[in-house]
Subunit: 343 residues, 2 copies
């Protein structure tokens, strides 16, 4: 059911910040004069957007990102950048959004994993995030997704000084159509290194969370080979988690681009391409049926083109397709059904 | 959330009936000796499956239907038939299923439009239906979907003789990528004629219901140009509704095949094909996000390959695609946004 949030409108210029003036100096935990987490998170995701887009364009060689800036009448806005039908990527979307306002309880339930403690009535909120899906053309080159977000609900108006609640979420995951073990090991190692800088429990825990999250229940298989995923994370120091999210987002290029460089020009057959397209079909199934970001966006009437930029340019559904036992396609499917420890 | 219904298993032979022995002579409304509605509905949908598949194969000229027969440990089974990559159709699926058993309340809520009156606890049910989606290759040839189903919940065990509840649902709808007004008029006229044999209020009511049902809320557009749709229909004579569903199902061939014959060999460009693929992407969005039959099937752990046979062989998502104002593509989109009266 769609809920009434006013439609976004296009803007001709990129603002320096989407924050309200009061947000930038406002510390979420105290009255200290440091720049607020909101402001630092926005700065981080916009820098990551710039650096990822720059690297993608350079690696692609042909395509250029098209930029759309938009604002929400209710508060905030975003920058969507999409490169379509390039030299290396079929579709690459890198979006940031910084939005706030009042959220219907139903949307709030879709936004948080722990729906049990939802209070009735509208919820004042702040949400900022970067979200990206990169679908290459070559069937041996993997799709990458990453998303890092920060969420706050405002302090209750009737209790001045009461703490607002906040949490971080995000992850980076890897979706090849074929397994090259060295690629998967490299990708997971970068995730582990980023995690280990903060807490040795993070990688094993967020790796499993990722395997559990990107599960296509009706197929009994995951959409890909995982990575890390976490959500509703607030039981650590807020500054530590901001640094952790920053480290993860800054690791995307080193985790992904070396793999793309190695695979982007590998010769392939129609058979390889059809298999990639089938796996893209599974990607669509996951995103439209299960992904919380997508279902949240569809329910809240967010900017549809930004939300659905995660869908591949092309996808395929064959009736009752079964890869031959022992084939390369079968090995991928097996690893999607039975997640492995890669490092 | 998936609920626990046991997995179907493949069968090597098509049974004469999927019904239990007690079902065939059991009248649902009284103790009269006539053949039960369950049995007559199964016979009807299996005859329609045979005649539609025969006609499709003849018109296609190249493709042959592959048949899968399956049974459910909980009760009943089905016959899935799929023709893939034929001469005329990219994918044509025609499925029947006749299933019964005990349904978790959550599945029941997904199966019925009026969820308000759901009692807690498992619900004994019977459901039979024919469901078909026909996706042609030529971008000027329309996709067709039809589905007719009959549903019963058992009489409560603690109140012998109490009436069981029953309802009919279904419809036939038309999804071209380009408008040929004569085709749309022909299609809607056949629907209207079938309706008018039973009740003059049916066509206007079910035409509107169809426009309302196949609405992609997050796009603000319908997936196609409609037809008829009805659900939870039980406030008419049961025999009349059985005849009505039979008439509608038997009208599919005359509504659709003449249009296919006219358009299947029309020359087309890459531009036409890409637009068809984009509209196929919308079809996928509707089916995975909104279609009750699909979401019901995914929740109840039904036979996934039968449920998702409705998805096209190929689909496409372009970022922020806007057809040129006044173009043929724009005309189609306009009619999906603003439903028209075609006859």
């Amino acid at each position: 059911m769609a809920v009434a949030i006013e439609k976004e409108k296009p803007e001709s210029e990129r603002p320096d910040t989407f924050l309200r003036e009061t947000d930038s100096s406002l510390s979420s935990s105290s009255s200290s004069p440091t720049t607020s987490v909101r402001a630092r998170f926005e700065k981080m995701i916009r820098e990551v957007q710039d650096s990822v887009c720059e690297t993608i364009e350079k690696t692609d060689g042909v395509g250029k990102f098209k930029e759309d800036v938009w604002s929400r009448p209710g508060g905030g806005g975003g920058i969507s950048r999409v490169l379509q039908d390039g030299g290396v990527w079929e579709k690459a979307g890198v979006n940031v959004s910084v939005v706030y306002g009042v959220m219907p309880p139903e949307a709030y339930r879709a936004a948080t994993a722990s729906a049990a403690d939802v209070k009735p009535g509208p919820v004042p909120f702040f949400a900022a995030g970067i979200s990206s899906v990169l679908h290459p053309k070559n069937p041996f080159a993997p799709t990458l997704h990453f998303n890092y977000r920060y969420f706050e609900t405002d302090a209750p108006k009737d209790a001045p000084g009461a703490p607002r609640s906040w949490w971080f979420g995000g992850g980076t995951d890897f979706t090849p159509a074929y397994i090259f073990e060295e690629d998967v090991k490299h990708f997971h190692s970068v995730q582990k290194n980023a995690c280990d800088k903060f807490d040795p429990s993070f990688y094993p825990r967020f790796k499993k969370w990722c395997d559990d999250y990107f599960f296509i229940k009706h197929r009994g298989e995951r959409r890909g080979l995982g990575g890390i995923f976490f959500d509703d994370l607030n039981n650590y120091d807020q500054e530590m988690l901001l640094s952790f999210a920053t480290e993860c987002a800054n690791s995307v290029i080193s985790a992904y681009i070396p793999v793309i460089e190695k695979r982007k020009d590998t010769p392939f057959t129609d058979h390889n391409k059809a298999w990639q397209q089938l796996r893209r079909g599974r990607y669509v199934e996951f995103n439209l049926v299960y992904d919380r970001g997508t279902t949240f966006g569809l329910k809240t009437g967010g900017r549809i083109e930004s939300i659905l930029v995660s869908l591949p340019l092309t996808a395929r559904w064959e009736y009752d397709h079964q890869p031959e036992v022992g084939s390369e396609e079968w090995k991928l499917l097996d690893a999607c059904i039975n997640p492995k420890e890669w490092i």
